[in-house]
Amino acid sequence: MKLKPLLVLALLAAPMMAHAEDIDSGKLVQIRGARTVVAEAALVADARVHGLVSQTYANEMQQDALDELKSLAKQAQKKTPDLSPITQRAIEATKTSDIAALRAIAAQLLAMEGPHGRAD
């Protein structure tokens, strides 16, 4: 089985394709990561209000979202300072299960993704 040519092709193509991406990719990934976690927190909080999920599930999901947001906030402090205050607001809104605030933050983050936002 000739695996070598496939591996060589893959290794050659990686840096060429990586070079083709623009410099904001890292920031975009962070914004997208924050946006989806905030949106997930909003969805869970909404499901809790409507009695669709158990308290245990909602609490654990809330904690997971907080952990993700704290990790993103730490990364943002180093790489994307303009994202930092938004993630802080998101952490507060997640703690209080403020659905309206979470949805507003998710929409703000979606707008920040700009023309590189979600495929429609």
Binding site: M1, A18, A20, T36, A39, L52, T56, Y57, A106, A119
Partner: protein, 412 residues
């Protein structure tokens, strides 16, 4: 009558065991990011796993040899060792991801700490493999994994655009997308193919054929299980994708937390839906953990010519027994490092697709060889499909690593 029961149980087991943590994650993300436009990848990959699964079961029934034995015979020593190492590493990483996914689902059910649940899950799985005969290990998880049908019930309840769903089955490349999204779409194509065609599935399926001492009379059961069982199982993965497109996309959710997928059942059905979804995830993921843990030991034992098989008592196959217990211990140790199950899923999927060409080439060659198979060699349909899918797998394997790095694991 006995044959019909055997076929039904086999099909049900295949359906319940089809969706694992990687399929759940990628199906949900594919739906929320690209609506229905990746359904065709699930459909084509399912035909491919049915073709290769049927082939590996047939080879096991006729030659009494599983896939890794054949790899050792057909590959040179160098590529053979590379394939062995890669498959064992991939299986252990996947096993780790499945145990992590099971522990996460249990955490959402009980509220107990994740690390404790991961440890208990590992111990329970080792205990179950030790105590139960092979057939019942397979059936226990496969049949309880049928709880995942709640995702399909949810799909019916949310009334998706069925015309759009049907159009999703047509192979397509959304060229109107911006380049970055198009590249990410390409990553998802490769990742879904890999998640459906995980090499451990073939190792486990063919080793299972030898464990259960299949004979030529079992070929019909094998064919039905591979075609109908995998086909229906794939519909569950497609249901997860459709639900994500309808429920998550409008909310700007691209699921980054494993538990989010359970909302697909909770939103239309309520707490019962959530409970069934989480229990289904527990059994489907832990079933996949059993398959991957055992597969790594099967690969190692078969390549090195050790005694192997769960039909033997542990002391009759001591190195095999140590190998599968060590596989679970390693999988648990990986989780203790703090790596998230979702990260493990991504690595497993990318590594797996690189291993796939080495898995399926020897299988096609043996299945075509009259010296081994007599009148049971591949027919023109399975032969043509086998080679077409093999070329697709090679192309996907070549593209997997560049796409992973460029898209940062599909996050771009």
């Amino acid at each position: 009558m006995g044959g019909l029961i055997e076929i039904t149980l086999g099909i049900m087991t295949a359906v319940g065991g089809f969706v694992d943590v990687s399929e759940l994650v990628f199906a949900a993300q594919a739906g929320s990011r690209f609506v229905f436009s990746l359904i065709w990848v699930f459909a084509i990959s399912t035909v491919a796993i049915a073709v290769f699964g049927e082939m590996s079961g047939r080879v096991a029934a006729i030659t009494k040899q599983p896939v890794f034995n054949l790899m050792r015979q057909r590959l040179d020593l160098g590529p053979g060792i590379v394939a062995l190492i890669a498959s064992v590493v991939t299986s252990i990483i996947t096993c780790s991801a499945e145990i992590g996914g099971t522990a996460m689902a249990l955490k959402y059910l009980t509220g107990l700490p994740y690390s404790l649940l991961a440890g208990l899950t590992t111990l329970a799985l080792v205990g179950i493999i030790w105590a139960l005969p092979f057939k019942w290990i397979e059936r226990l998880f496969g049949l309880l994994g049928l709880l995942m049908i709640v995702f399909a019930i949810a799909t019916v309840k949310i009334h998706p655009d069925w015309g759009g769903v049907a159009r999703g089955f047509i192979p397509q490349a959304p060229v109107s997308l911006p380049l970055k999204d198009l590249v990410t779409y390409g990553y998802f194509v490769v990742a879904i193919m890999s998640a459906v065609l995980f090499p451990y599935e073939t190792y486990f399926y063919s080793s299972g054929g030898v464990e259960e001492q299949w004979k030529p009379k079992d070929l019909m059961v094998n064919r039905m299980v591979a075609i109908v069982g995998f086909g229906l199982g794939s519909l569950l993965a497609i249901a997860v994708l459709i639900n994500a497109a309808v429920l998550f996309r409008p909310e700007h959710v691209d699921p980054a937390i494993i538990g989010t997928s359970a909302l697909e059942a909770a939103i239309p059905i309520g707490k019962t839906g959530l409970l069934l979804a989480l229990l289904g995830m527990v059994f489907a993921f832990s079933g996949a953990a059993v398959e991957t843990g055992l597969s790594s030991a099967y690969s190692l034992a078969q390549f090195l010519g050790w005694e192997w098989g769960r039909y033997k008592k542990p002391h009759e196959a001591p190195r095999f027994t140590i190998a599968w217990i060590a596989a679970f211990a390693l999988a648990f140790a990986i989780l203790l490092t703090g790596i998230k199950p979702l990260d493990l899923v991504e690595w497993a999927v990318v590594l797996s697709i690189v291993v796939l060409p080495a898995t399926y080439l020897p299988l096609i060659l043996i299945a075509n060889d009259r010296k081994y198979m007599n009148q049971h060699v591949n027919g023109p349909v399975s032969n043509t499909l086998g080679w077409v899918f093999y070329v697709m797998i090679c192309l996907a394997a070549a593209a997997a690593l560049p796409l992973y790095f460029v898209t940062q694991g599909g996050k771009l």
